[in-house]
């Protein structure tokens, strides 16, 4: 009797080990298929809001509400992110102590490349966002990294986004199981409920775009990253994608992660990929 159960247990744990080896992270029941995902994701919004022009989704709440849109168009004559943009341009062209500049770290001198970020780095096996690449560039040149949430980082990304305005989001998922896993992980993070309110990202930005949350209009998830970084009147200042993730988490009373944590990088990868083909509109302004 005893030997039989031991054998049984042994084979069971062997099977478990084998299963664990084949899956570095949790495996979804069906195959990961980003192409179909993105199509379905975009069609969902296009059908939900048939009157909104496809390229207009990147303008967030302004694509959802006529009144708000008019106010915003007037504001765009004198955009509130203008000061940050100017500062970013200056920082971008100022050499580091060693004489190199940001342009040396990026393809095409860093101009007009925002639509390619975040990308999957095959050497590292992880997603690399624009903010991360900028700080790595600083560290490689002997400078201290910037805070990921605002100020200098927001100014720099604002300038880089501005030089890429109108270019279509173009995120690649290489044929690499790790890239697919990162994408899948980001998707899972986006749809997982968390926090005291039991909200997922999708509860607001897929289920209820255009609806009011307090006095604000919720933005659609489609193209939400295309407008980053943003000047939010609520913040009376600029904020990066990282800042948006952190505040979204804390507003739903969940525990925010550290900026540029793996999950945040993955969720940015997922959101950017499903927005492929929509124009970059950053830097944006939001109520």
């Amino acid at each position: 009797m005893k030997t039989r159960s031991v054998l049984l247990l042994g084979s069971l744990s062997a099977a478990l080990v084998a299963f664990a080896l084949t899956s570095p992270r949790v495996v979804a029941a069906d195959k990961v298929d980003p192409v179909t995902d993105a199509k379905a994701f975009q069609n969902f919004f296009f059908q939900k809001f048939p009157d909104v022009k496809h390229e207009d989704f990147v303008n967030g709440p302004y694509s959802m509400n006529e009144d708000l849109k008019r106010q915003w168009q007037e504001k765009e004559e004198f955009p509130p992110y203008e000061f940050a943009l100017e500062a970013g341009k200056e920082m971008f062209s100022t050499p580091f102590k060693n004489g190199k500049t940001y342009a040396d770290c990026f393809p095409n001198g860093g101009i007009g490349i925002r639509q390619n970020y975040p990308y999957f780095d095959e050497k590292e096996g992880k997603v690399v966002t624009l903010e991360l690449a900028l700080n790595r560039c600083r560290e490689a040149n002997g400078e201290a990294p910037y805070s990921y949430v605002k100020d200098e980082m927001a100014s720099l990304t604002a300038y880089m986004a501005y030089t890429s305005r109108g270019k279509l989001m173009d995120i690649k998922i290489p044929d690499d199981p790790r890239a697919l896993a990162a994408y899948e992980n980001g998707k899972r993070y986006f749809y997982t409920r968390r926090g005291q309110m039991n909200f997922s990202c999708a509860s607001c930005h897929v289920q209820s775009p255009g609806e009011r949350i307090r006095a604000e209009i919720l933005a659609p998830a489609l193209g939400i990253v295309n407008a980053m970084p943003i000047y939010r009147s609520e913040w009376s200042g600029m904020g990066t994608t990282s800042r948006r993730f952190v505040t979204c988490n804390s507003q739903t009373r969940a525990v925010p992660l550290e900026p540029q944590a793996d999950e945040y990088r993955d969720v940015e990868y997922f959101l950017s990929y499903v927005a492929n083909g929509l124009p970059i509109s950053g830097p944006g302004a939001r109520p």
Binding site: F78, P80, E82, F83, S236
Partner: protein, 103 residues
């Protein structure tokens, strides 16, 4: 650092429409910094727009105006090409001034 004042003035016949955006912290003196110390009040006291030697718009401001204020108004009696002079002074003695041509 560029000027703290952005101006756009456009004339359509006899009415000139002016928009300005000013970079200023406009601290009320009631907010604490992360260390719990009060941030001293720092706000624009007077904002002035002059055209052809005449004041066309003067604002006496206090702490109730928001950070990086935006102003929009229109006035009569100027034409395209006239020069508009904008200046502000704040409670700490800081000031800035700039000029803009009416387009």
């Amino acid at each position: 650092m560029a000027s703290s004042i952005r101006v756009r003035a456009t004339s359509n016949g006899d009415i000139t429409e002016v928009q300005a955006l000013i970079q200023h912290p406009m601290d009320t003196g009631l907010v604490k910094n992360p260390n719990g110390e009060l941030i001293p009040a720092h706000y624009i006291k007077e904002l002035k727009f002059e055209c052809n030697g005449k004041d066309v718009f003067v604002a006496n401001w206090g702490t109730a105006v928001s950070k990086d204020p935006y102003v929009k108004f229109s006035f009569k009696g100027a034409k395209k090409g006239d020069e508009l002079k904008i200046s502000w002074t704040d409670n700490k003695g800081g000031s800035d001034t700039t000029t803009a041509k009416i387009a």
